[in-house]
Assembly symmetry: C2
Homo-oligomer: 468 residues x 2
Amino acid sequence: MVPLDLLFNPSSIAIVGASDHTGKIGNTVVFNVLQSKKRRIYPVNPNEKEVLGLKCYPSISSLPEVVDLAVLAIPARLSIGVIEECANVGVPYVVCIAAGFSEIGDEGRALEERLRKTIEGTKTRIIGPNTMGIIAPRSDLDTFFTPLDRSPRPGNGIISVISQSGSVLCGIYEGAEDTGVGISTAIGLGNKVDLNENDFLEYFKDDDLTRCIVLYLESFTDGKRFLDLCRQITPSKPIVAIKVGRTEKGAKAATSHTGALARGSDALTTGVFKQFGVERAYDERDLLDLSKALAYIDHIDGDRIAVLSNTGGFAVIATDYIESKDNGAGLRMANISEEAQKEIMSRTQYFASAQNPVDLTGSVTDETYGEALEILEKEENIDAILILLQLQAPQLTEGLADIVARIVNEGGKPAIVCAIGGSFPRPILRRFEQKGIPSFGSLRPAIWALKALYDRGIYLKRIGAVCE
Amino acid sequence: MVPLDLLFNPSSIAIVGASDHTGKIGNTVVFNVLQSKKRRIYPVNPNEKEVLGLKCYPSISSLPEVVDLAVLAIPARLSIGVIEECANVGVPYVVCIAAGFSEIGDEGRALEERLRKTIEGTKTRIIGPNTMGIIAPRSDLDTFFTPLDRSPRPGNGIISVISQSGSVLCGIYEGAEDTGVGISTAIGLGNKVDLNENDFLEYFKDDDLTRCIVLYLESFTDGKRFLDLCRQITPSKPIVAIKVGRTEKGAKAATSHTGALARGSDALTTGVFKQFGVERAYDERDLLDLSKALAYIDHIDGDRIAVLSNTGGFAVIATDYIESKDNGAGLRMANISEEAQKEIMSRTQYFASAQNPVDLTGSVTDETYGEALEILEKEENIDAILILLQLQAPQLTEGLADIVARIVNEGGKPAIVCAIGGSFPRPILRRFEQKGIPSFGSLRPAIWALKALYDRGIYLKRIGAVCE
């Protein structure tokens, strides 16, 4: 029995506080939930007769069935009574959106304690309070209260996100949508009065639809269980995590935000993350950039990086970033064999360069790029390839994404793509991403992704999960 | 007399190697130059009669006038003869696009030496070879060979860029265009056979249209003169610079790229940059992110930062980034006075927080944001304000940009904006940017910009340019 299955794919949903007035949270949630046609949806509000064309019910008890999930879009002070009703009729999952609990001080803490007591000994589980809820592109579920036009949702993917902050969750999934990265599941934990990060880690541990787990945490609910779960998960699935409260002021801000009581020193967090193979991130971009690389590639077996580029200056910056230990990844530029260099030069302009970094120059074609990549894929002394693109070069087309994806899949050597510029490369980078090649719009995150892949390789060797 | 005026705003331009065939470099350059209607344009090519509707001339000598600028879109081996002709008739400036000089080794180095000799004792000055050329939105000049549809140009602004790499130049100006940042002038130095970074620094030193100078360098042509210029410039104008060759492999890659011979240790570069107030950057994003903050704000007088946000989680991450010395800026969260906190809370929901970071919560309106900002602008113990926005919040509109810009201009306390998300906030961030508020789409560059502003304040105090 896997209990959370029902939460991630409920057959029936009640929205309490449903409203027929556009702009109200209780309206947006009904609208978003309705995007999937496969569920039975029940608006609940004693003051409305109909919401978005659906019959509206006065209460949870008056519904024609016991729903799998109730989403509460009502203020804090009203939530407790409704949750009690949910527990009485046996609703298994409740998403409690309301803020105004432990994050506002003593009064709120007392209210949150009442919430906890309300479900004690019952089968009802709460997500939140003070939460965004859940989106699960895997099952077409969307309980978020952010409007779709302002906050577009990502497609389905292999990354699952657990976040104690709704806005960080937004930052991740909107960033994913914008860059063509898919998300499997995204959960807002909020104040964690009941279900917490460990419950979801436990689920994603054995979940075939999740290849990488992303965490944003303001506090650990149960540090020991958390580490035990990480130890079980990281040998087979990467975890990327932000733990805030790195500074005293940061920890205090977290308390005002979700009532989190940050415990323990930050150095300890760094140490245990390292020991248990959790990749530490520092902001929402990190989370997305590192997790997509880890989700698709998992790890690289060594530190020898080849740079294949058509842009001289960026290749030089990349070289410094790869080799430098000071503001860089501390990896190594691979040696490309004489034969491979000759093969590459025979296909390019005489002013190109086939030493690492390879510079195919601005006059390169899709075909030449592909041929050079094929040559590097066969090189023994290369662990990963950074494909650096100035897609503005007149002879390159978006078809390059298909060529690169085919060659990388056949060759088997990990490759990531980085393309430089503003709006023009964006849709082409999306195409690379959707072909399963981690793709970046600037150099730094691409290099940090390589470093994370290398670090994970080292971790897997250390614990004996892969051969030396 | 300021010699480079004519280069940045020529009355007449010849394009040698002009072509009537779309896709050829010699066609794109003519097309781009023609975007400005105020100049006399002469295509030159003995094999064409007409290019883009203009009469085509067989040679530089056959033109009806001595042009101010000749752009050479011809191969390396043909360039020398044409430059000799330019020198003979007295063309003051030549942009030499061709690659295939010192960056390809001994043969190319000899060719480059011949180029140098060709102009010795003449009044002709060369930009390049191996260069993109110049764009100067200030005077509507565009000699680049990148097509406008693939490589959109920025509007006019107060940042001038000097780059030894064409692709880095592209990265900067396309990034600027994409985010609504203006550029005054952007120059590709290429192999620097004649005009070099120091010539352009000298010009921008006294240039009223440049408030911040951006540099990408693979080598110093004359280190002593460079430092002397920096010493003269940085008291009144910020300089942001990448110097590659931080690692041995990076220096070697630079040699293959522009023939640069990197000299001296990187620690020395770091030291002198610090001494002379040059802000060091590490990639193209850094250059743009730091320079726009420095161009608009110049510096901040202290390290006390207030965070005004409507998004709890990001405010917590920002707090850690601001305070932490380890992967952070090492600045301080300002103390907000009791009175100010009360004033803010009287305008917000009870579950908001007015301690620093201020969290106005997702239900904030433009007006409340403005009122809270006005309160913070009046606080004595705040040196700068980080405005953190989740623009997806239902009651915020793009009009917030106008409100914020007005209040910051009136209040005088420096402020930068950071908005979280994917495609939705992008046009609103552009609007902030165009109102002169440095704006960022993610947290890290915003924090690093604050750090650069603070560091510049410290530098200005150290040299006595501003009061302690």
